[in-house]
């Protein structure tokens, strides 16, 4: 069983709090605002009533409770790290403890994510997994842009939309599903296709624009706006078993025009060429991963590069643009 820092704060009189961390960690990261007793051999089993165990990140204690079959015992989600943050900022970030424990990410990364806004152009095969992962990760704001309606043939690869959504605008159907995942994210819907009249106004308000469209003309338009507004663009594209991802226009790094300079010609869409739902799931999640790296301040490895993934044999190729 787990307890969040907020729950512990509100109900602390119900629990005995036991700090199981090594002494050096207790000294370095003291848990102010709560009376915690220091764990000793056999102590936990002797204490009656409800107990909360605290380790540094809330992972060790979850394991202890299961392994030792401890009754009436809770693990503090996010551990001392989340408690200290809650005490100082009155903000409970324990929901994301499994990502804040990553040294490159940390609480600072989570705060950056909670303050970031991302525009997603297209709520189809790629837009569904991108938005789903960003919302679950705790992105602050999403602007969803798509004028399309949900069709039966979309459902195999667009899991934010269901049978009851057929005929509805994709942005509204997606927003409804995303709100179930995490209501913290502020979601704005633009129920139109992006064009020259509305694009700049939307994208320049964001930290990143995700290209999850299904046609080259729109990719070229997003590229122009991304360059003009200096908002990085994360490109994803699909052809049958293959997917492409590139991080474009980061402070003057190559854009879509440098990636594919020619005007669109006879290329096929997913509807023409066919696609399994798992491929946009993989490619969309790589786009979301690169977006999070930029927001948190980790160098996006696909900046100035084109990743090509083949779902048939799982080979990847990275091309320097």
């Amino acid at each position: 069983m787990i307890l969040t820092p907020k729950e512990l704060f509100e109900r602390q009189s119900e629990f005995t709090v036991i700090d199981v961390r090594p002494k050096s960690q207790q000294n370095e990261f003291p848990m102010d605002g709560i009376d915690a007793i220091i764990s000793k051999e056999g102590l936990i089993q002797k204490i009656e009533g409800k107990k909360v165990l605290v380790c540094q990140f809330g992972i060790v204690t979850e394991g202890m409770i299961i392994e030792q079959n401890l009754k009436d015992t809770f693990s503090l989600l996010g551990g001392a790290q989340a408690w200290i943050e809650f005490q100082s900022e009155k903000e409970d970030l324990s929901q994301w403890s499994r990502q804040t424990v990553l040294p490159e990410f940390g609480l600072e990364g989570q705060k950056k994510l909670l303050n970031a806004s991302v525009a997603i152009v297209g709520l189809g095969g790629l837009g569904c997994p991108v938005s789903q992962s960003l919302v679950a990760a705790g992105i602050g704001k999403l602007i969803l842009i798509d004028g399309d309606h949900v069709e039966l043939s979309n459902l195999h690869r667009q899991p934010l939309h269901g049978m009851n959504d057929i005929g509805k605008k994709k942005v509204h159907s997606a927003k409804k599903s995303l709100t179930h995942i995490n209501s913290i994210t502020h979601i704005e819907c633009v129920e139109d296709y992006i064009d020259e009249s509305n694009g700049l106004g939307i994208i320049q308000k964001c930290d990143i624009v995700i290209d999850a469209t299904d046609n080259i003309q729109t990719r070229q338009l997003i590229d122009q706006i991304s360059k003009q507004s200096n908002v990085p663009m994360i490109y994803g594209g699909l052809y049958r078993w293959e997917g492409q991802v590139a991080v474009l226009n980061v402070n003057g790094s190559p854009g879509y025009k440098e990636l594919f300079p020619d005007p669109p010609s006879g290329e096929e869409t997913c509807a023409d060429a066919g696609v399994l739902g798992m491929l946009p799931g993989i490619i969309g999640n790589i786009q979301a991963l690169e977006a999070i790296k930029i927001i948190v301040g980790i160098k996006p490895d696909l900046m100035g590069k084109l990743l090509i993934y083949d779902g048939k044999n799982h080979s990847t190729q990275i091309i320097n643009i």
Partner: protein, 81 residues
């Protein structure tokens, strides 16, 4: 003669029916001359489709001269999403 490894992506893969192959060319052959061979091999299936050329995993101008042992990739833009 020089030996070149050709890697095919997206429509190129389907047009030629292979992921990759090795081809022997005259020394001094350019990437665009190799592209013409690929297009004629595809028998019209690549007509109207623009291709980017990467040599040894790096985008290169089409007129670059190929060297023995080079890996040449032909990459079309893709629409789907």
């Amino acid at each position: 003669m020089i030996k070149i490894k050709v890697k095919c992506f997206s429509q190129v893969k389907y047009a030629l029916g292979v992921d990759e192959f090795v081809i022997e060319l005259n020394a001094g052959t350019s990437a665009s001359e190799l592209e013409q061979k690929i297009r004629s091999e595809a028998g019209g299936k690549l007509d109207g489709i623009s291709l980017r050329i990467a040599v040894n995993q790096k985008y290169m101008p089409n007129n670059i001269e190929l060297n023995d042992g080079d890996e040449v990739a032909f990459i079309p833009p893709v629409q789907g999403g």
